[in-house]
Amino acid sequence: MTEAVTLNVEELSMRFGGIHAVEALSFQVMQGTIFALIGPNGAGKSTVFNCINGVYRPSAGRMIFEDEDITGLGSHRIARLGIARTFQNLALFRNMTVLDNLLLGRNHYLNAGPIRGGFLTRRARKEEHEARLKVEQIIDFLEIESVRKQFVGSLPFGIQRRVELGRALAAEPKLLLLDEPVSGMNAEETEDMVRFILDINEEIGTTILLVEHDMGVVMDISDRVAVINFGVKIAEGTPQEVSVNPVVIEAYLGKGDKDQ
């Protein structure tokens, strides 16, 4: 495997007023690996994601994606560079069909524009057809054929999660950010989701940065894990290293433990 760095986060800090949500956080995600960011609720994991894909502008630090400094770029520009994500609480287009949601994930490959689209020129038709073929592959892969024409808002939560994953995949990202992809799912749904994540990583070769609150899943699938608590990285290593690290055990099992 090549030792290329896909994402390099350097000294990232994010403050909201007096709250230090993320503090001088650094880590590197290697190409083709699954990197997990874990930590208790409120540790700042989602905030890291929001900084990476430009929802928040970090207070300090830099983020380099494949040699390009993405710090402070607009969200849509970052997405176009090849970073796709899913959300802890889903951010789907609920009044649109599964198919349209997935096609929207590919929007930046479609450049026909309103005039060619409105006149449905040969180029616009070709583009749409190609997008449809690609999206159908993803629909097959995620086993959501039977709901492709249904409105997303009417689907069960577990399926919506898959649709959101599908929308991210449709962009053919180089880096996929998954924010708690199995939270709120039952055992069977979790198992399916884990299988999809592994397949995406192994078969498509997508680099994955995963946020999880729950240690179990993470330990199974990640190549490398960083643990954050109160916005600060307290440990990093292989799952085995991290799981026996006394500081991590302390953070997870020691004090308080309001939300485990």
Partner: protein, 348 residues
């Protein structure tokens, strides 16, 4: 009667008219529309022309407000801009109508761009107020720029020509409008089967998510404003040749309310709804007038009350639809169709 659709390729699935059945009905409708002017009287033809203009105008508004979720209270201003632009281009520069009409559309689209730029960060009530202010700026300019617009005196519209042929009768105007309605409908339908239209709906549904998956929300908002005002500009120039005289009193704020009502009544964010809404809202005042005339012989005291009622009618219809049929006439049609397609196994 078809009971379902079974497709074997993605190309079939994306066809504009899905079944032979639909094509047959559309062909029949087109045939009726083509022979219509040879049977209709002068007044009915004039009404049909107004309906056609309204379809184009409300399609534009629906693209911006219904599909992209950006409310506009400045719609009549864009019709006015189109009407004055095409009229003045012909009067002052001698540009024939078939050229001045698309130019008027482009001019209106350019004004839409100018309005969109400061409005990009506004939403809801603030956007409504900003577009409302735009309407007043346009109205003020028309009334006070006497040297160009002849102010409240208005302008007499030159007889339009298309590629040298004079459009000198209501029937010819009818066919001109009909062809543009068809073109406008097909364009809009295609738009929403391709990338741009999907992105518009995404911006309406969840603009944060749209941005994050790589959709340049700013770009699509600007595009929606421009396409909307292009349609309005074309509708305005057709309105000018249909009336053959234009003044500021033809493009009131009430006209914007009428267009919003058409969109709502037909069905927000649906193309067929734009047509239904335009037909319904143009026919409604006529129906009320007929009713009034019929009643006046027996109940003369009602007549004075009725004319009061007419002005409040749009408001009433909007409210009734919002409460009872938020999906509009098109939503009603879909329900009825679903019911009959599954008959006798229909539920509900």
């Amino acid at each position: 009667m078809p009971s379902g659709q079974f497709k074997t390729s993605y190309r079939d699935d994306t066809k504009i008219f899905q079944t032979l059945w639909v094509k047959m009905w559309l062909a029949l409708l087109m045939a009726c529309l083509v022979v219509f002017p040879f049977f209709a009287g002068q007044y009915l033809l004039y009404l049909a022309n107004l309906v056609g203009i309204a379809v184009i105008g409300v399609l534009g508004l629906n693209i911006l407000s219904g599909f992209t979720g950006q409310i506009s209270l400045g719609h009549s201003a864009f019709l006015a801009l189109g009407a004055y632009a095409s009229t003045l281009l012909t009067l002052r520069l001698g540009i024939p109508f078939w050229l001045s009409m698309p130019l008027a559309g482009l001019f209106s689209a350019l004004c839409g761009l100018l309005l969109a730029l400061p409005c990009l960060r506004l939403r809801g009530l603030y956007l409504a107020i900003a577009t409302f202010a735009f309407y007043f700026i346009v109205e003020y300019s028309i009334v006070h720029w006497n040297s160009l617009t002849n102010g409240t005196g208005g302008l007499t519209v030159a007889e339009p020509t298309v590629l040298g042929f004079p459009i000198d009768s209501d029937t010819k105007i009818y066919f001109l409008i009909l062809s543009l309605v068809v073109a406008g409908l097909i364009f809009a339908k295609n738009l929403f089967r391709t990338e741009t239209g999907r992105a518009f709906i995404a911006v309406r549904d969840n603009d944060v998510a749209a941005e994050i998956i790589g959709i340049n929300v700013v770009r699509y908002k600007i595009l929606a404003f421009m396409i909307c005002s292009f349609y309005a500009g074309v509708a305005g120039s057709l309105y000018a040749v249909t009336l053959s005289f234009i003044g500021p009193e033809h493009f009131t704020f009430l006209m914007t309310i009428e267009y919003l009502a058409m969109g709502l009544v037909g069905g927000i964010g649906t193309i067929a709804g734009s047509v239904l809404g335009a037909v319904f809202m143009t026919a409604l005042p006529e129906a009320i007038r007929l009713l009034r005339d019929a009643l006046s012989t027996h109940y003369p005291f009602l007549v004075s009350r009725m004319s009061d009622l007419q002005s409040g009618l749009y408001g009433l219809v909007i409210i009734l639809f919002l409460i009872f049929e938020p999906t509009g006439l098109f939503g009603v049609w879909l329900r009825v169709k679903k019911y009959w397609l599954a008959w006798p196994y229909s539920y509900r």
